[in-house]
Symmetry: C2
Subunit: 192 residues, 2 copies
């Protein structure tokens, strides 16, 4: 099981208020992904787009994923925003207290509503994923639950050169060991 | 003016309690720098050491610096911990309310105690630095004051593959624009 998110340099991945998700700076956070050709095709945003390493990464992330797990907050924010043909194109297991029948959408995305906890959702997602991996779509709270339970194998972060000062922190209060590797040197300039 | 610090993936650079600075995980945060040849020589830790790109970076950081600016908390933590020949080897301007005569140490380090604010400290440091740059040594609060005042030109971060969950955040509440650049893709594994 893995996750892959875009995070600001100061650790934020989303606004406190989901209604601000379409606000300028939060859209800016994700803006690296919108010009990518694979992403544009997948979301029906029209043809063209970049085909460099960022595009390869977006494609690899989608293609390795056989099922998604998602928190209720993310589902609620997306339920009326995703198109008829949502970008997941796999079964999506939504962690919720709400009892609800599976919701089948176009293009291979079916939302299943799981009421009995994160391990059950992961088990169901693993079965549905077959040979492929399970992705935690988000949000931060769901990712942290899986991290703290020791159920995440690896993760990738697109670190955005932005400072937000507020929002929802990806790693708030997470204190777990990562596999040893060297530090990553990053350089930033301030505009004049 | 620049700064260069090591930060955990979740944004921390130091413990809340300075007495914990020598605690295991905080030493671990800085451990990439101790094997570097230039750092070992500079701190009198004995010969040998790595000579790769990390070593070049440590040397470049020290060599570009003609003067340091430092907060009172960092000075207090180091005053009795630094050797007779502290690693700065430049004038160091300490932001403090305490009135105190300059304190000259071996090897070119003289601490000057500045009572009239961050801009005055920067002015004095710039004069002392000559052709070279001014480095903010730390800590986080001092760095944030200079960032929020728009006085930092650039900075570098050695992002450590660690999650701490608590401590002092480098960018706590900083909301300023950085110069546009692409995202940085980072990958981490969890130990099995």
């Amino acid at each position: 099981m893995f996750f892959s998110v875009t995070m600001s340099l100061d650790g934020f991945i989303a606004p406190e208020d989901p209604n601000e998700l379409m606000g300028k700076k939060w859209v800016e956070l994700q803006k690296w992904v919108f010009p990518q050709r694979y992403f544009r095709e997948r979301l029906g945003l029209g043809g063209g787009g970049e085909e460099g390493p960022d595009n390869d990464l977006v494609r690899d992330t989608f293609e390795r994923t056989g099922a998604n797990v998602m928190g209720k907050r993310m589902f609620d924010a997306g339920e009326h925003a995703w198109p008829e043909n949502p970008p997941f194109r796999t079964p999506v297991f939504v962690l919720t207290k709400e009892k609800r029948d599976p919701w089948e959408r176009l293009g291979g995305t079916t939302f299943h509503f799981v009421n009995d906890g994160i391990e059950s959702a992961l088990d169901q997602a693993r079965q549905a994923a077959g040979d492929r991996d399970v992705r935690i779509s988000g949000g931060a709270d769901t990712i942290r639950q899986y991290l703290n339970a020791g159920l995440v194998d690896e993760f990738s972060i697109a670190l955005s050169p932005m400072l937000f000062g507020q929002g929802i922190r990806l790693f708030d209060g997470v204190d777990i060991p990562l596999e040893a590797q060297r530090v990553t040197h990053l350089n930033y300039r301030l505009p004049r």
